[in-house]
């Protein structure tokens, strides 16, 4: 399509230059521009499996809060797999402690070793909440990206094209879940890719593979035999900040009111 219009434009420059020709050229030039506009198509940049067909899958992520023991093996796995720079996270664990008077204390694992600091105060309840990018269906991050560098794949994953991102950081502000950051060396936006290079080869994301208790689960909604499809059929799940209308794809089992 683009090539054809290109040809037309070229042929017209070759013709002798009357005013009408000039107008025609301008018209086809702007048509050309229009063809070029709009979000850039997904790049081949994100390494995927050779015979992968993204129309045949639809990925979902499920977290069972009652199973998370806060060991942070997932965080360490993610760092190793994706070269996450120190001080930044693609996934992290929040520790919620609810005092008798209702006060909620939240902390995250310390950077460096990625383990939780020991605490001794008395609390009513406590639990861990793993967090990642929700790969929202109505994702504000892709909506606000001025150049279409943040985009959704057909299989439901939200990715960043690091060749197109201008590093404006608008998506970092727009994501209600705080899952994005500007990478200090590449200076472009970075976030969880659901280990796109792994899942398109039929493997699980690194965090899911490393979780010793199975608190993190992952699967393909288009595959009726996938355990996830069956699990989601008869389990009630909730989303974080569902009221914002972002339609997240990360389901939580046993999500409490305090978690935001």
């Amino acid at each position: 399509m683009t090539r054809r219009r290109d040809d037309i434009a070229l042929r017209e420059t070759e013709a002798s230059f009357s005013r009408r020709d000039l107008l025609k050229l301008l018209a086809s030039g702007s048509a050309l521009l229009l063809v070029h506009c709009g979000p850039v198509p997904p790049p081949p940049g994100e390494k995927r499996g050779a015979s992968y067909d993204w129309t045949k899958h639809y990925w979902v992520y499920v977290v069972d809060i009652s199973k998370c023991i806060g060991c942070c093996a997932c965080m360490r796995a993610c760092r190793a797999e994706n070269d996450v720079p120190e001080g930044y996270h693609r996934t992290w664990i929040e520790r919620y402690r609810i005092r008798k008077d209702g006060e909620v204390l939240i902390d995250v694992a310390q950077t460096g070793e990625h383990v939780f600091a020991e605490v001794k105060d008395e609390v009513e309840r406590a639990y861990f909440v793993p967090k990642i990018c929700n790969h929202c269906t109505a994702s504000p991050c892709t909506q606000v990206c001025p150049v279409g560098a943040s985009y959704q794949t057909k299989d439901g994953v939200v990715l960043v094209d690091d060749k197109a991102c201008v590093g404006c950081g608008y998506c970092v502000q727009a994501c209600p879940y705080g899952t994005r950051y500007l990478h200090p060396t590449t200076r472009v936006a970075d976030k969880c890719t659901l280990c796109y290079h792994r899942i398109t080869r039929g493997e699980k994301p690194a965090c899911v593979a490393m979780c010793p208790t199975g608190a993190r689960m992952f699967g393909d909604l288009k595959n009726p035999d996938d355990p996830i499809t069956r699990l989601l059929k008869d389990t009630r799940t909730r989303f974080i900040k569902a009221e914002l209308g972002t339609k997240p794809k990360c389901h939580y089992i046993g999500l409490d009111e305090e978690v935001i």
């Binding site: 606000v144 001025p146 279409g148 197109a164 201008v166 879940y177 472009v188 935001i260």
Partner: protein
């Protein structure tokens, strides 16, 4: 840097609106600053994208925003709105100041050459062309008003449309930005007019300043009330977001927002300007008051931008924590860069003034 960007575009919109008050609505009293305000709008506009470029992680890709825009993004409109507005301002300046450029072009030297180039080497002028220029300038100024509002309202929208951030997400944000832009625009004109007159020992036109300070008073009341309204309705509705906004305002932004922005830099100028508009005083007193109030309001608007931008960013996304921020001196987006970015428009303004005088009547009036 992201604090400076809305600040500078605000100055553009404000200065432009003042110039339009003269050109379109024929407010003769504003004549002494009319040309200057147009030129100020132009130079600030030229430098508005600079802080953005400095902020980008990949500034070399900046043009992607216009080549491959993603139309669902509010930010993608920036390139288009900005460029069309720039063209409009350039055209208006050209038509408004054509006579002066012709005068200049008739001389010799580099300035004349530049002027001749700007005029496209057409030095012809008579009453008919002058009338035509005037008419075109008026139309352009008329189109420019909604565009100036668009340019700056749009900046407010960039923030107001982020639902992830309760400190930003409000439809009022556009209007608040717009009014504070006009406040900052008028203020910078008053401030600059006094400084320039003082340096050149010109006589200040007190009627003009009085009128501007009246406008300033009106616009600042609207701007500040809107902001207070916004805060009050959040406080009164006690939404779950109020909890975090409350902590933000009462702890983290207490000094810069409550004390400085509202109590010092809004309340004092408010009383000063109220006195100036309602009571009769000598020119000297009235001028001094206008200048002080304008300078304070310039700070107020800068503080407001700071509080909006930084306030929104120090809040964690889980609404339970805060970080703190203060720019370093020498960082890429630090204080030194900010000062340089903010000085450049004034340097350019001076060069502009060397080319064609921006206050043509000031000398005459002082002599008289």
């Amino acid at each position: 840097m992201i604090v400076l960007y809305p600040y500078i575009t605000g100055l553009v919109a404000g200065a432009f609106i003042v110039s339009s008050l003269y050109h379109v609505f024929g407010r003769e009293a504003l004549q002494p600053v009319a040309r200057f305000s147009l030129a100020a709008a132009f130079v600030f506009l030229l430098f508005a994208p600079l802080p953005l470029l400095i902020h980008l992680g990949r500034p070399e890709r900046a043009f992607s925003i216009m080549i491959t825009p993603n139309f669902s993004s509010a930010m993608a409109g920036f390139g288009f709105i900005y460029t069309s507005y720039l063209i409009l301002v350039v055209l208006e300046i050209w038509f408004v100041m054509r006579s002066d450029f012709i005068q200049r072009a008739k001389g010799a030297g580099l300035g004349a050459l530049i002027a001749r180039t700007i005029l496209l080497f057409n030095l012809h002028e008579d009453d008919a062309t002058r009338r035509a220029d005037h008419k075109i300038a008026k139309v352009l100024a008329g189109i420019g008003i909604p565009m100036a509002c668009l340019l700056h309202g749009y900046v407010g929208f960039l923030f107001g449309s982020i639902k992830a951030n309760p400190w930003w997400s409000t439809p009022l944000m556009m209007v608040i930005f717009l009014f504070s832009a006009i406040v900052s625009g008028i203020s910078v004109l008053i401030f600059h007019y006094f400084v320039v007159s003082w340096v050149n020992r010109w006589k200040v036109d007190s009627d003009c300043v009085r009128l501007m300070s009246k406008y300033l008073w009106g616009f600042m009341i609207v701007a500040v009330s809107l902001e207070l309204l916004e805060l009050m309705s959040a406080a009164y509705q006690q939404t779950h977001e109020w909890e975090v906004i409350h902590t933000l305002v009462s702890k983290h932004l207490f000094v810069s927002y409550v004390i400085l922005q509202f109590l010092v830099f809004s309340l004092i100028p408010f009383f000063l300007l109220a006195f100036n508009s309602l009571a009769r005083s000598t020119d000297r007193v009235s001028n001094a008051i206008s200048w002080t109030a304008a300078t304070m309001l310039l700070c107020q608007v800068l503080l407001m931008r700071w509080n909006v931008v930084i306030g929104g960013q120090i809040m964690s996304k889980s609404f339970r924590g805060f970080t703190s921020y203060f720019p370093g001196l020498w960082e890429k987006e630090g204080l030194v860069t900010a000062i340089v970015v903010f000085t450049l428009p004034f340097v350019l303004l001076y060069l502009f003034h060397r080319l064609v005088p921006l206050f043509p009547d000031a000398k005459k009036r002082s002599a008289a």
